[in-house]
Symmetry: C2
Subunit: 342 residues, 2 copies
Amino acid sequence: MAATIRDVARLAGVSPSTVSRALSLPGMVNATTRARVAAAVEQLGYEPNRAARGLITGRTGTIGLVVPDLANPFFAGLTKGVQARARRHDVAVFVADTDEDPGVEAGLVRALAKQVDGVVLCSPRAGDAELAAIAQETTVVLVNRAAEGLPGINFDNEDGMRQSVAHLVALGHRRIAWVGGPASSWSTQHRGLGLRNAAEALGAQLVPVGNFAPTYEGGMAAADQVVATGATAVVAYNDLVAVGLLARLHSRGISVPGDLSVVGVDDIAMSGMARPALTTVRLPTQEAGRLAVELLLAMLDDPSAAFAAHRDLHGELIVRDSTGPARDPGDGRTHGSKGSSA
Amino acid sequence: MAATIRDVARLAGVSPSTVSRALSLPGMVNATTRARVAAAVEQLGYEPNRAARGLITGRTGTIGLVVPDLANPFFAGLTKGVQARARRHDVAVFVADTDEDPGVEAGLVRALAKQVDGVVLCSPRAGDAELAAIAQETTVVLVNRAAEGLPGINFDNEDGMRQSVAHLVALGHRRIAWVGGPASSWSTQHRGLGLRNAAEALGAQLVPVGNFAPTYEGGMAAADQVVATGATAVVAYNDLVAVGLLARLHSRGISVPGDLSVVGVDDIAMSGMARPALTTVRLPTQEAGRLAVELLLAMLDDPSAAFAAHRDLHGELIVRDSTGPARDPGDGRTHGSKGSSA
DNA sequence: TTGAAAGCGCTAACAC
DNA sequence: GTGTTAGCGCTTTCAA
């Protein structure tokens, strides 16, 4: 068995409480005793039992991270950031993947909440009321979702969408399709909003084509509807969707960016590897994860303090080959049959 | 505060131990008392404190998962599998990402080991001796790495490589390059071995071009050396590397599969989306994660039992567009200058 | 500055 | 079948 605090105490010739203090509150113990304790700790390879400590302090030294889908590189990046920063603080991370299932999400968070000091909740599908209820039970930091009264790390979706639209308008696009993600997704709503505002401000027309799964398959499924709108450019919910669009467009013989320009969001690794390489709004995912941890730990350290309700991280438009000049408007309805009625 | 076992006991009019038994060993308690306890538990929303339970049982209900890089879809898939299966067993998972840093790995595993019942170690870079030392401290299941005396879930690399070579030979390839991953990687060694054996058995020549980072960038870096070998086909360490190869080959104007056929390993999502779509050996990553958890939990349940040292999961060759007939041998040295001396 | 004692919430002997 | 007791390893009053 591993050494306990009593073993250390015996070896150092002091009481267990002194060992405890030497480790947690070094200032309160004589330098020489402290050295003796340190030596004994070293010799025994002693490491305090966290469960026992947690039992009395009420802190577990553990946080939870809930993501919709680890296979989505966006969340993988986030997870890396969370996990790396937590380690720096000697905090362990429970990771839970909800598989994009809102039903699983709530129960999972509740279960997790009992075992951790706090939870980082990424892109939750739960409603505001449910989130508020969860926040009653444990300390919560939201990522990629704003909710009244709850702290969170977000991306400046409006601005990212504005950059995209500005880019497309500069290339001559006036009719821009928008492929949304899940309807319940906060970022779908905000990106849609940002696009609408930007389009209006910049004199372009935005054509929403509905909600699709935030996956490659979702993009494949959306492609034909996008074409039918007669738009010369399309903004996709995320890069996975955009790459799916690219694939389906290619197999239909529609040239990108010749016939249609495509913009994604996230800048996952795959986007740079796509052909044509994808123009996208780069989101600092790892950074978001790191900030979420810092925020959560700060809240835990000082529960009474008020924390900035949320923080917006700036996204940066990365222009690659999937966007180009708008095609001649005369071509506008070449590929779609419903375009004229849309 | 959350309800404790004493609250439940008081409400149900029984002793704490009865509550404990009603929950852990229902068979040992009268049906009617059990019902009373259940009602009280329900009413109070009681959930046992795992730390307290762990303090006495010596089990934390937690396992650790160590991966080199969560951003690599291969490990993301593995993590999903581990995490999903663990949840079914009501076990929580600490996830740690070593960032491909062998120096971090050892320390991380040691630290983790103190907080969990067991650890799933994926593709560890550590040497056999070090792994053995870790296994002394905690229960370990290896994934994607075999080591003497340690249980593990592996992929049948030899067979996967044999399938690849057979496919290429059938297409007329006789000179096949091999782009290895990190030299310290167990799978690099075994894939290399499998390729060598298969090539020999099937009358092809294998040309190793060295070790590269298991990333897109690694593939980019390897491409020119591959071309220089004069090989008509190349097997890459994994799909990320293969996609990197594809990209660099494309920018050099080398046609795939016209001039060079490319085969990867893993079948990550990206591979199907690449252009040309990548022929690859599909590895059942989630399955591996699930099996690793089952094995680990079985070992924990019965520490004295002997477990199969390891289990090999079969990989399946997925043929896509990146492989085709070998080009005319006369073309063999078109792109490379060192080809004739290699 | 240090030690003794109590107790965090739970389970496991041991009685009954 | 159930209650009583003790104690897991640690921190934290309270005294000294």
